[in-house]
Symmetry: C2
DNA sequence: TGACTGATGTCAGTTACAGTCATCACCATA
DNA sequence: TATGGTGATGACTGTAACTGACATCAGTCA
């Protein structure tokens, strides 16, 4: 074979590694590429920008979220649908995945530009869920409201799941956060 | 006087203008600066990055939001505090301001990088409000949940206020959205 | 065998930003 | 009035994030 396979995955792993040790801003795209025997140009063929190397591959998670929404019984109230989506998404992060998620999040938490991208992705997810809700007949602004709330709930639960010393599963935590949310209004 | 005063404001006005006509990406920082008789270097002295020229000056709005939160009676429920904050923030955007807000938003809506920044700013606001709630004795995750919900409600109301043909005041719209939110769970 | 494809390399170019030093009206103060 | 400080700016230089165009060449398939 002419090239080592899995260029994208190798780049992602190397990037996480370098970001963790040298920091995001002090690591160049060329360095990441070089560390796996590729060139900067190839890096940017796989990822539209430098930040994206940390965020690629979330499509499956997003899909789980959406599928969870679709799995709700027809006629369910908007927040029921969202609850179903959050719970499906939580199942997407088993405990084995926690260490890697922690490493990744620790990099993100140290860089505003990465936080910005993370928020943006979550916002995109909310938009997609809102579309799904609207397709179910939920009207605005309830659809957007519910979808954004779902993203918020998941985000808070995820942050807690990642926290040092936290032992509970993401599913348990997000159920708790959802309960608190319902308690709010 | 040695220089024309109000360099920052002139840069912001010129930037909005150029972004609207040529588009954000097709406008360089040097062009913006040159169009008001300054240099690129001076542009970046006033704004930490190119996107920021559209977002600077929101501190007053943020402060209004926070002040609104503080104005809530002691012992008020989290969502009461948030409602007070949203209402104070809405008052910050009188109808005269709508055309300018529209022009600005139309630029932002056309560029993902700008949307990213806008989300990030709103997220920062939510964080600040969450701090304020915590200082009032609200515990986690209720504080973050309520704060993020407030930001979401405001964001949705603002988007509606900006929409073509919309006549109602931002205060009216956000009261409606808040009502819908309470209806949700 | 030969055309074709797809992932890569190479090279050149633009632009967002940052560091550093010089400039020079204005202001205070002696 | 002289003198020294200050603050906003300009000029110059450098780095790195991206982009477009073109070349390469192993594997594949007609």
């Amino acid at each position: 074979m002419r090239w080592e396979p899995g260029a994208k995955e190798r780049l992602q792993a190397a990037a996480l590694d370098l970001f963790a040790t040298r920091g995001f801003e002090r690591t160049t795209a060329a360095e990441i590429a070089q560390s796996v025997g590729l060139t900067e140009r190839t890096f940017f063929r796989h990822f539209s920008d430098k930040r994206e190397v940390l965020f690629h591959g979330q499509e499956l998670f997003f899909q789980a979220f959406i599928d969870g929404a679709s799995a709700a019984p027809p006629g369910a109230a908007p927040m029921e649908v969202v609850a179903s989506a959050v719970s499906a998404a939580a199942a997407f992060f088993p405990d084995e995945r926690r260490p890697l998620s922690r490493a990744r999040q620790s990099v993100i938490d140290k860089n505003p530009a990465l936080q910005e991208r993370e928020r943006h992705k979550l916002a995109g997810l909310a938009t997609t869920v809102a579309d799904a809700l609207r397709a179910r007949g939920v009207s605005e602004p309830a659809a957007t409201l519910a979808a954004e709330s779902g993203a918020t709930v998941f985000g808070i639960a995820f942050a807690q799941w990642i926290r040092d010393g936290e032992q509970r599963s993401l599913a348990d935590i997000s159920a708790d956060v959802l309960r608190e949310f319902r308690n709010l209004c």
